[in-house]
Amino acid sequence: MRIARFNIAQNNIELDPVNLELIDPLIRKYNGKKGNMIPLLQGTQEIYGYLPRMAFEKISTETGLNLSEMFGVATFYSQFRLKPVGKHIIKVCHGTACHVQNAKEISEALEEALKIRDGETTEDRFYTLESVACLGCCSLAPVMMVRDQTYGKLTGNEATKIVKNIRITESN
């Protein structure tokens, strides 16, 4: 049931215009194969960064997969997103080791610095802030991951600094 995402209403799914032709090769590759639903959604998300509503509809009409079942799968797994994300995703680890070493402080500091809440995207669509279950770098707890780079042994201040620096270096 994944109660955490219970509140997603249908009309919250973005209707951003996207180039639907991008997923044609993907559909050709998986059409008719058994067990294809998750790979199709994963591939789509890789292309757009999230699952646009239009893509759902296109996949459904072309492969015959049931729209409601696809939506069911997409909301079940934590990997799938129904909203566009920022250019970079900040993944703050909230595994057990990070939790007992105050991962909460990292999330709170970032929420304050970026003025968004957990799961939200900054207005300029630069950052999306996310809590994740475990990044598997428990020895460096507390950790976060930005741009596939893991930062360990953080404090709230350090995390904020790193995030600010990335924005500065990229805007130059």
């Binding site: 049931m1 994944r2 109660i3 955490a4 058994k34 067990g35 294809n36 639903m37 998750i38 790979p39 959604l41 994963q42 079942e69 069911g72 799968v73 079940f76 797994y77 934590s78 990997q79 799938f80 909230h94 595994g95 057990t96 080791a97 939790h99 007992v100 070493q101 402080e105 500091a109 994740v132 279950a133 475990c134 990044l135 598997g136 770098c137 428990c138 020895s139 460096l140 707890a141 950790v143 596939d148 780079q149 893991t150 930062y151 360990g152 709230g156």
Partner: protein
């Protein structure tokens, strides 16, 4: 020809600590200065707390350097390679003298991790040089019958390393007995337990041993297709598995008539998980491979009879598969020589939390938990007091200090109320609040409950509400009894392992730390000073320098005071948000 080899550990945690830069630096030095040594990559050796690690092996012996950042790398190469003068201060392990971490590696028994950190995981030749693919080779050349392989696994006494502890040989026997033209072998690499990372390390450090284990299983049960169900959060593991699969196919270790065994056709593909803890459960995992929501099914029929696509299927964990080639090569008796009466062999543990040496250790079953934490783990960070150890993640429980002499074996750990689980060991000290820990795990299982069984779906929610109430200082008499009642209801009325074990963290903490719960409920105090609503924040008038930082940052303006004068917190306004505590640079905010 040089005999000196420099090896850099490039596992996920090493890379996070900066090993990639260290490797590039050494490579650049080797090229520009035309230095004479072999530069190699390897994966995690388990000593995560000293990453990045660089091993130098020369005529004289082996030296492992710890904390080798870019800057230190220059120094190490300069001194050790050019001047033949090892820097003793940076060496953490050596076979020549008593280095600080010798004990860490020497007191382990490495079966699963036999190759991790000792070879390049992206080279099939190096794996072969370390007896790789010799186990399946032995089966083929000596024409060992399927039932004989299964008997060896049964005799070794190995039990499922994913947490359940079901005898692996028995699983294979059932899968073998169900005849079908199509059968599957699945490797469960959906390591969702927060705080456990041994499967990731094995996949990153020694992917071929897992493939070989799967090939042997496929031979034993006559499987035609293999699937590795791996977490998408482990990109490096997936990359290295893909390399390993290609190499194995090129060598003919996967494909048709493998190892010349007539009619033994077998191949493996990787299925990336999409992030759902419940998919660690066998039947949910199968549903997920089939492309559906990962919801468990009723058993029987067991997967051995009707699994993936309704065909007989055998599912084992990464660590279990990694053991198999070793057992075939060395015999069941050699494996069974380690361990206790009912738990044979070794177990890999991921040590994390408030322990000095967090990392990966492999110990024989039967070692006490205390020895794992103090002898290998180096005790508690900052010499704080050891309070409890959490084993088994969200399905496990907290074992208190006074039971730390419990030995590591399935049945002894179960007797405490925790479970062996996949091997996460999160160590907690006096600054960890046990109610908060129970709440943390329950919040996790509540989010991860698939929703199929009412008791698991709603029960975990209700339990979490009570725990939140307690940590908010609104606990009432009878809450503990209510928690216990709900816990047993959930355990009895859930279909799969997730629900049946979800209340364990709460039950064990109530059992061993009831006083802490009572302090929250009746005295409105959090002894570990973690639950903010129960804390009082005051300013230490001696230490306060009057810098105004807390005052400016207080969101509710509860702090007053002049510059260079000690500040004061108005308790009527304070909302216990903790901002002043984290902002103060002089540790002058006191919690009580």
């Amino acid at each position: 020809m040089t005999t000196t080899t420099v090896t850099v550990g490039l596992g996920s945690c090493g890379i996070a600590a900066g090993a990639g830069k260290t490797y590039e630096k050494i490579k650049a030095m080797k090229e520009t200065e035309k230095l004479d040594f072999n530069l190699k990559k390897t994966s995690c050796i388990g000593m995560c707390y000293r990453e990045p690690l660089v091993e130098i092996r020369d005529e004289s012996g082996t030296y492992i350097y710890g904390d080798v950042t870019e800057g230190r790398a220059i120094e190490v190469i300069e001194k050790h390679i050019n001047q033949k003068d090892p820097i003793r201060d940076y060496i953490v392990y050596s076979d020549l003298f008593d280095a600080p971490e010798n004990n860490f590696l020497d007191s382990q028994v490495k079966i699963v991790l036999r190759n991790c950190g000792y070879m390049d995981p992206e080279s099939i030749e190096e794996y072969e040089a370390r007896e790789g693919y010799k186990a399946i080779g032995k089966i083929a050349t000596r024409k060992i019958a399927r039932m004989e392989v299964i008997q060896t696994i049964l005799d070794s006494g190995i039990r499922g390393r994913g947490g359940g502890g079901f005898p692996t040989g028995l699983k294979w026997k059932f899968a073998n007995a169900n005849k079908s033209a199509e059968k599957y072998v699945i490797c469960n690499a959906d390591e969702g337990d927060p705080g456990a990372f041994m499967d990731r390390s094995v996949l990153e450090g020694d992917p071929h041993s897992v493939l070989e284990g799967m090939i042997i299983a496929a031979y034993a049960i006559e499987a035609t297709q293999g699937v590795i169900y791996c977490r998408a959060e482990y990109p490096l593991a997936i990359k290295r598995l893909n390399i390993a699969l290609k190499q194995a196919r090129d060598k003919g270790y996967l494909g048709k008539n493998i190892f010349g065994i007539d009619g033994f056709d077998f191949d493996i593909y990787i299925k990336e998980g999409a992030g759902a803890f419940v998919c660690g459960e066998e039947t949910a995992l199968i549903a997920s491979v089939e492309g559906e929501r990962g919801m468990p099914r009723k058993r029987p029929p067991f997967p051995a009879a009707s699994g993936l696509w309704k065909k007989p299927t055998n599912i084992n964990n990464v660590e279990t598969f990694a053991n198999i080639p070793w057992i075939i090569m060395n015999g069941a008796a050699a494996f069974a020589a380690y361990g206790t009466e009912k738990s044979k062999g070794t177990k890999v543990f991921a040590l994390a939390g408030k322990v000095s040496h967090s990392g990966l250790v492999e110990v024989p079953m039967g070692m006490t938990i205390r020895d794992v934490i103090f002898k290998l783990g180096g005790g508690i960070k900052k010499d704080k007091k050891f309070k409890a150890v959490q084993m088994g993640g969200p399905s496990g429980g907290c074992i208190p200090e006074y039971l730390a002499d419990t030995i590591v074996d399935y049945d002894s750990v179960n007797a405490t109320g925790a479970i062996m689980g996949s091997g996460g060991m999160v160590v907690m000290d006096e600054t960890t609040c046990m109610v908060d820990v129970a709440k943390f795990f329950l919040d996790f299982t509540r989010k991860e409950s698939c929703g199929k069984c009412t008791f698991c779906r709603m029960g975990t929610m209700r339990m979490l509400e009570i725990l939140e109430r307690i940590t908010d200082g609104k606990g009432v008499e009878g809450d503990l009894e209510k928690l216990e009642e709900l816990a047993y209801q959930i355990k009895d009325n859930s279909l799969c392992g997730l629900g049946q074990t979800a209340p364990n963290p709460v039950l064990t903490t109530i059992k061993y730390f009831r006083d802490e719960y009572e302090a929250h409920i009746f005295h409105k105090k959090c002894p570990a000073k973690v639950c903010r609503p129960l804390l009082t924040y005051t300013v230490d008038q001696e230490k306060c320098t009057g810098c105004l930082v807390c005052l400016k940052n207080c969101p509710v303006k509860a702090i007053t005071g002049e510059r260079k004068q000690p500040h004061f917190i108005n308790q009527d306004i304070c909302t216990q948000c903790g901002v002043c505590f984290s902002k103060c640079k002089f540790e002058s905010i006191v919690l009580s």
